[in-house]
Symmetry: C2
């Protein structure tokens, strides 16, 4: 028989009562986010009132000589990882060094040493999360990673705690702020991809090497993490059908506008009869859809649950302070002794659907030499691949000069719903068309 | 010195391991929301996997004979509140009976009997929350109320847990789905307030007596709850400057459209130099502001924090399943032994700013008899009250027939920023204008 007293009420130490002793924190990495976390821990401890107070014991960096503009107490800054991991005064280690192999070893060593772990490392959680969760369970410690997905947006807590009673049926999200900034900029100003990227780099919204942001990798890693939490599914990075925005031109944004749509790098995870559909792709989203109006470096995650209907979480997906906000929330949850919820278990094993079996409407943009029969050849390829056309846009090109080479024009084909396999088959055939110029652009069209 | 082991890791019982015994739940009230909660507890226990399993022991109702369409196990349904409160097998009581005095007594009795409490009762928490929180602390039990604000939108957890590290500077929210549905409907179709209300009642978005929804009361109660959580401020219902949408006409929506704005019943809580500004008022919001695009029965809460910047939470603000989703999240948090965070403490006492000291731009719509000097009289009143005019809209009325009475026309005045006191002084004077027809409409204009 259950006994009410078995559910502990907040104890004085868990609620930060007068008897509460500080919990020691070790930061590993003191870059943008680490600096933000350290600053708040040192300067505004009075705002961090959940559970036991937090006390910064170590800030472990590679180069102690580097000026970071933070005034740390004596002895806190050093380069000896092992000393921090082994310090019995440390209860929580915060992994902010990035990358995968070294970060994995650090988290493993922290858990083995009986420390709780907080990390903002999406690549680590995507690639090696399951191993770390098993280690944490084995050692009776927590690992939290709110900051690993969508920066300041509390989607890990939202999915696992606030929406815990829901059977999740789908997620639609914008998870990469760099791509979203670039797409907003291109749509608003007509800028080329290259110009928009230069602008984003100047304003701090894109890294010097933005490839993982713009090719879909970053968003796909985050989608894997969210899908495990939402569906309890065993999914990996390879299960995500992925495409980036780096193939788009200004004219694709303007064709989309003409079709009443915005282009978003949309991350989608969807329960279907065939299994779990996972994709990160440039996608046409109707302007009347609220997702189309999330602009600039913002992130949004729309979760569909069987009870809640659609719940939305939006906010800044990156940056020093927003990411620090999420890391600190994890620290506070540990300080308040709030165990995370148990992950969802699927009713039955959820198979990730292969890209060939994904069904969607598509936007296809071709550049072709403007001469008779070119479009007929394209239409023939699509038709004989079993893809039916919903509409076609081709604007009049410059008047051809009889003496000049034929000009190159853009043709946009909107398809009816078809499969990834059919599209792949058609692409193999159109690649051989002698009148084609450059790589055609393929985007999904949201339902 | 701190000891890492002092922070308990999830215990087998807290994580729902095999040893976990069920926690007894008593539902008080089995109406729309109670029915939704009961159904999920009975039919889908496998989805409720956070911490110890939940077991429905009592569903206490006034009239046991009423058919509720739910098949409850034998002995669960009865009308003896005391029996459920005193049952040692019950760990958590869920108050869904509504109203204030009886609900207060029930929650008090539950806490005194050593039970945790979950409630969806915003009026109760607004009016008597502080007494209940003190009782809960005294008895070492939790009281949770995620469903009391914005239905399925997890804003209580968001503010207190996910954004715990932030100093909150402001909240802008749409907290009443009925009003938002009516305003969206009037704007989209040009329907009158009365017609939109009839439509909302037919579709289940408005009660038979919608007065608390449309006059601002419901939203103001929710804003009081959010303000206590966000600012740690001791605020009461009387501190909210309140106005409803029941005074608006279709033409106000169309004037707003002409001004590039939507009308929203906006709930605002804002830290200023003068203290805490609290208002719930029909407000003109620029169409480019995402809040303007939250339509129909949706709720949204935009929280501004010093770290996160702007974080958004949106979703269905009412309804059987969304509200049940929030009640169940609270039950699961208790089942997982997750203590709530300690409320924020203000740096210094935060005084609610009196309505007279609120500053805003205003939209004023007058109906006046269309004859010479009428507008001059109005302008004189505003000017000599120290209110300066930003712009005026008056459309040509029907051509006056020399033999007929002068027609009545609408005049909209947009003011520059001014105080509530000045507006009140002006209103006392314009009320005496003999050419005025009906009560003028006053709306705020969002910054």
């Amino acid at each position: 028989m259950s006994n009410p007293a078995d559910v502990p009420a907040p104890s004085p130490s868990a609620t930060g009562g007068p008897a509460a002793e500080p919990l020691g924190v070790a930061l590993f990495g003191l870059g943008t986010v680490g600096g933000g976390v350290a600053e708040r821990l040192l300067r505004h401890p009075q705002t961090l009132t959940a559970g036991r107070p937090l006390s910064l014991k170590h800030a472990v960096v590679r180069d102690v000589a580097k000026n970071r503009g933070i005034d740390l107490p004596a002895g806190v800054l050093h380069d000896d990882m092992r000393r921090a991991v082994d310090d019995p005064a440390v209860a929580i280690g915060v992994e902010l060094i990035g990358g995968i192999p070294q970060a994995f070893e650090l988290c493993r060593d922290l858990l083995r040493a009986g420390k709780h772990v907080v990390t903002a490392n999406k690549a680590l959680i995507c690639e090696r999360g399951p191993e770390l969760f098993a280690l944490a369970a084995e050692h009776g410690r927590m690992i939290r990673y709110e900051a690993a997905v969508a920066g300041g947006v509390p989607i890990v807590a939202g999915l696992t705690e606030s929406l815990a009673a829901n059977r999740i049926t789908g997620i639609r999200a914008i998870l990469n702020g760099t791509s979203n900034f670039l797409l907003s900029r291109m749509a608003d100003t007509g800028a080329s991809y290259a110009d928009a990227l230069a602008e984003a780099q100047k304003r701090g919204y894109a890294e010097a090497d933005p490839s993982m942001d713009v090719d879909g990798t970053d968003a796909a890693q985050k989608l894997v993490i969210l899908s495990r939490l939402a569906f309890g599914a065993e999914v990996t990075f390879a299960d995500v059908s992925m495409g980036g925005i780096d193939v788009l031109d200004a004219e694709d944004l303007s064709f989309a506008e003409e079709l009443g749509c915005a282009v978003k790098l949309l991350a989608v995870a969807k329960r279907t009869e065939r299994g779990l559909e996972l994709s990160v792709r440039p996608t046409l989203v109707r302007r009347t859809d609220a997702v189309a109006n999330i602009n600039g470096p913002m992130n949004v995650v729309a979760v569909r649950g069987d009870l809640v209907g659609d719940a939305w979480f939006a906010g800044p997906g990156a940056g020093r302070e927003p990411t620090a906000s999420a890391v600190l929330a994890d620290l506070l949850s540990i300080a308040a002794a709030r165990p995370p919820f148990r992950p969802r278990q699927p009713d039955s094993p959820l198979r990730p659907v292969p890209a060939d079996e994904l069904f969607s409407r598509f936007y296809l943009r071709f550049r072709v030499v403007d001469r008779p029969h070119v479009f007929a050849a394209l239409a023939d390829i699509l038709g004989s691949s079993g893809i039916s056309l919903a509409s076609i846009i081709q604007h009049a090109g410059p008047e051809a000069d009889d003496n000049a080479d034929p000009s190159v024009v853009s043709v946009v084909v909107m398809t009816h719903r078809t499969s990834g396999a059919r599209l792949r088959a058609a692409a193999e055939r159109w690649a051989k068309l002698e009148s084609l110029r450059g790589e055609p652009v393929v985007m999904l069209v949201a339902d």
